[in-house]
Amino acid sequence: MDDVLFFQTGFTEAKRHLSDLMTGVVHEHRPVQVNRHGEKEQMFLLARRELEDLLELTGQRFETRVFFDDGEVSVSLPAFSLIGAGETFDAAVEDLVDLLRQYCAQYLRRLDFYRQTDRRALLPLVFLFALTPAARQGDLLLKVPGTRG
């Protein structure tokens, strides 16, 4: 019995038919597994839309905690160990979004390192944040649980 569920192709074949392959992945919503050196190295091609759905369906969300000090508001994101602060709540959220942007950029640069640590668990949220347009990244932190993005 064939236990391969994904459509598969070899690296050389994929290079030759990249345009058709991309059309299938993006427009026909058909993920592809590309193999090199037999199946020793594998890469998956997935449309952005499928990846976004996948991340949303994990149900993970940015859990925050808000603190008030004299003249200062802090919004903490414990899973990422980040704390945004400002004179107002909006300024604190904006600061946290900036920090998260900085964190996600360096996380993706150093993914090979983080995937070997406890920070591996952050991968879905880092991808979700990175895939979200900058103007809507703050909304992720204010999202009401159980609602769709």
């Binding site: 008030f68 802090s74 919004v75 903490s76 704390i83 900036d98 964190y103 070997q116």
Partner: protein, 143 residues
Amino acid sequence: MTPKAPAFDEIEKFLKIDGWTEVAGSAGHATSHRVFEKVLECGQVLTTHISHSGSKSPGPNRFGEILREQLKITRRQFWEALDSGDAVDRPAPVEEQVPAPEAWQVPILLHQVGLSPDELHGMSPDEAQKVITAHWASPPDDS
């Protein structure tokens, strides 16, 4: 008495004593923060960030959260490390988490329910949810 919170210069001094490394490139990033990491033997990565304005101090509640969620030590261990110049023994105990509402709840509690920031202090997400639900379930105010 409100517990003392250190200036960011003192937090940076602590990070040097405790063996934290600045994440490359964070100093030149557009945000006003520098990011530091410490990797524990168990593979756990600790992250913290300090303001470029070293003379500024975080508020006491924010500093409590820095200790709990970033440095993962107690207030006493922080000041002892600064005094002694010795790194903290890890794993270290952390102070109990203070209840705090979630960010999505805060605009509702402040602007719809009409609570003050002081009234939100120490409110857990569950308590906040009950207040929000009760507010939404109540008839609209005609006055």
